[in-house]
Amino acid sequence: MYLYDEIDQQLVEQRVVQFADQTRRFLGGQLTEDEFRTLRLQNGLYIQRHAPMLRVAIPYGMLNAEQLRMLAQVARRWDRGYGHLSTRQNIQFNWPRLEDVPSILAELATVQMHAIQTSGNCIRNTTTDHFAGIAPDEVVNPLVWCELIRQWSMLHPEFAFLPRKFKIAVSGALTDRAAVGVHDIGLQAVEQDGQVGFRVWVGGGMGRTPIVGKLINPFVAWPHLLTYLQATLRVYNLHGRRDNKYKARIKILVRDLTPAVFAEQVDQEWQRIKDGPDTILETHVSHIAARFTWPSYDPGAAEVDDPCEAYASTNPAFARWLRKNVHGHRVPGYAAVTLSLKKSGVPPGDITADQMDAVADLADRHGFGELRVSHEQNLIIADVRRDQLFQLWRELDVLGLATPNIGLLTNIISCPGGDFCSLANAVSIPVVSAIQERFEDLDHLFDIGDLDLNISGCINACGHHHVGHIGVLGVDKGGEEWYQVTIGGRQNGGAGAPGSDPAVRGGGAAIGRIIGPSFARDQIPDVIERLVNTYLARRDSEVERFVDVVDRLGIDVFKAAVYGAPLPSNAGVGGAQRPEARSD
């Protein structure tokens, strides 16, 4: 966990003062609505359907118990007792009052938290592998580099008003859990001739125009990381389109120029600033590395007999949880544990204040007080001794946080959808619930195996539907909500997958393909079921996942299964009336 130094703390406090003043001027009529909009967005504050929505940054998904307790306090005092973990490893509060936001930010600053650049057309929260620093397949620990990027990008004077939002992801492992292929900039840390550097993908992204990023530099040595980012951002800031917000992301510039020409322009700009003041020195890296606290693992933990198998043999529920929610750890005798926020009937990613407090206590007792947020909207206790797993499971079960579905169909990634978000065309949470109910049978769920199901309420793709093995997208047709279904998307390729990078096995993301005309809301569980049954009938073994079968057979066989016979629908031919929209 990175601990602020005096400069970090002072900047966050000064931002609180600045925002309090901006809010006061807005409420006093000295800042117009137009002037205030971007200023508040740069501090994570949207005006939403019911109330302002405040998005608090969790830099690269790392969180400690004290911070989680503060989030619980915020949820209780200023919200309605819960928060929502986003796909950008952040947390959102849906019900604060505008007048209270400066006070909330002041409280957050006391535990080294803020809302800086969690929205707006600026460099957003940098994300990474939720197992960064502990993954057994890690080549380079990305955390120190993430913190360097956090500092560099925060309150950046040149890049505060980009053509559009800008998202950076960093991966340092063999399996790319950060989805570097679908970010404006994706960085894959690698080692070459004993030196750490980064493969740089640019122009990936989801939204209206889903594109997989292009590799524009196979190796930027670490001292040059920030100047290379600066050059890339400068080319984008000067030449990215500003005439049409739907064509303003860097992916459109890269596509229009061609990746080769874009790379050439970045290189020209880079040559002028390379070796300049933002070159990273060994001392910068060691200064930041020294401010990270690392758990003091017990070397004896590996010597203790692992009791898990014994418990699992007599307790099928624990066995299931052990199989899906417990992950390998680079330190023998330890494991990482995912707390599923995907229990049936609860909106994905939602967590109550009481759960937050309880989880903070569990993290203190079982995991050195450290937590991670995954972009799959779950919480992770990163460092648990294997001989404490059974005890932890029992406590999590009581809290409703032990649903054994990580990696499975019901671990649905979803945006808040039309129930909360003013941008959405359609609701997403009721669709999630209906699917989770349909696939409640755990034996069946386990038989289906690994399947990423992602749902977005609109084309902005906050629910990452493009990279779901099955993706569901809410669309608006004549004021009614309908749902389009895609299959074959993935956030990374893994070894040997088409498009994956042979050098590091990173990359390899793919965008799902639309199977055909869209569906009414209540048809979606049947559609999913038909897709799944087709997969089960066609897979060559249990090892072949849903997405592998789509890769092998193409989408036609799935299409035929879904559209071959009429789908039952209570809604008849029509979709449901879409909710009243209020745009921001």
Binding site: I7, Q10, L11, Q14, R15, V17, Q18, Q22, Q30, T32, E35, T38, L39, N121, Q151, W152, M154, L155, H156, P157, E158, F159, A160, F161, L162, P163, Q230, R234, N237, L238, R242, R272, I273, G276, P277, D278, T283, H284, H287
Partner: protein
């Protein structure tokens, strides 16, 4: 009749830490009132567009009263270099200041243009932000190399001056902290 006076009657400009009045006037060759003339009269306070500058470089450079050059965010600033030289270098002679227009404050191109003018074109003279310039953006503008600011209506230059102190620490080393750009209490630099 188009008002060609850029400045207001009241002090609306911040320059090198002082509140002053902007008394410049724009010479726009497209405007009928300037019909038949290629360049403004040789008097103080005239500002020309980048295209006027490029078309009349030699005449403008040899004036008694140097002009300001107004750059739009989509202008090609290589026009500030000596013609056909291929070098990125602003000629110092004959230029009173360079102003960069912010049509809306959310159009951030001017920040990058300022960086290029300061670091690639070697422009050491006055660099002015005009247009949608807010109390809330002067801090970033100053760090990108601007040293004068014509504030938009409703944004008091004195408050803008105070806002320069919003952040006393900085992370990005290639953008000076304000203590290095305008007279301000000195704040420690990152790392």
């Amino acid at each position: 009749m188009i008002d060609h006076v850029e400045g207001h009657g009241w002090p609306n400009m911040l320059r090198d830490g002082a509140v002053v009045r902007d008394e410049t006037r724009l010479f726009d060759a497209q405007d009928t009132q300037f019909a038949g003339t290629l360049t403004p009269p040789d008097e103080p306070g005239w500002v020309v567009t980048l295209s006027t500058w490029v078309a009349n470089r030699e005449a403008l450079r040899s004036r008694k009263h140097p002009v300001g050059i107004k750059v739009q965010p989509d202008d090609d600033i290589s026009g500030l270099s000596p013609s056909h030289s291929g070098i990125r270098q602003v000629e110092l002679q004959g230029i009173a200041f360079i102003s960069i227009v912010f049509p809306v404050y959310t159009d951030g191109r001017g920040f990058s243009l300022a960086q290029q003018l300061r670091h690639e074109y070697g422009w050491l003279g006055e660099l002015r932000a005009v247009g949608d310039v807010l109390i809330d953006t002067v801090h970033y503008l100053a760090r990108c190399g601007f040293n004068s600011f014509v504030m938009k209506d409703g944004h008091d230059p004195q408050q803008a001056l105070n806002a320069m102190n919003t952040f006393t620490r900085t992370y990005q080393r290639s953008y000076p902290s304000l203590s290095e750009t305008i007279p301000m209490p000195r704040g420690p630099h990152r790392l």
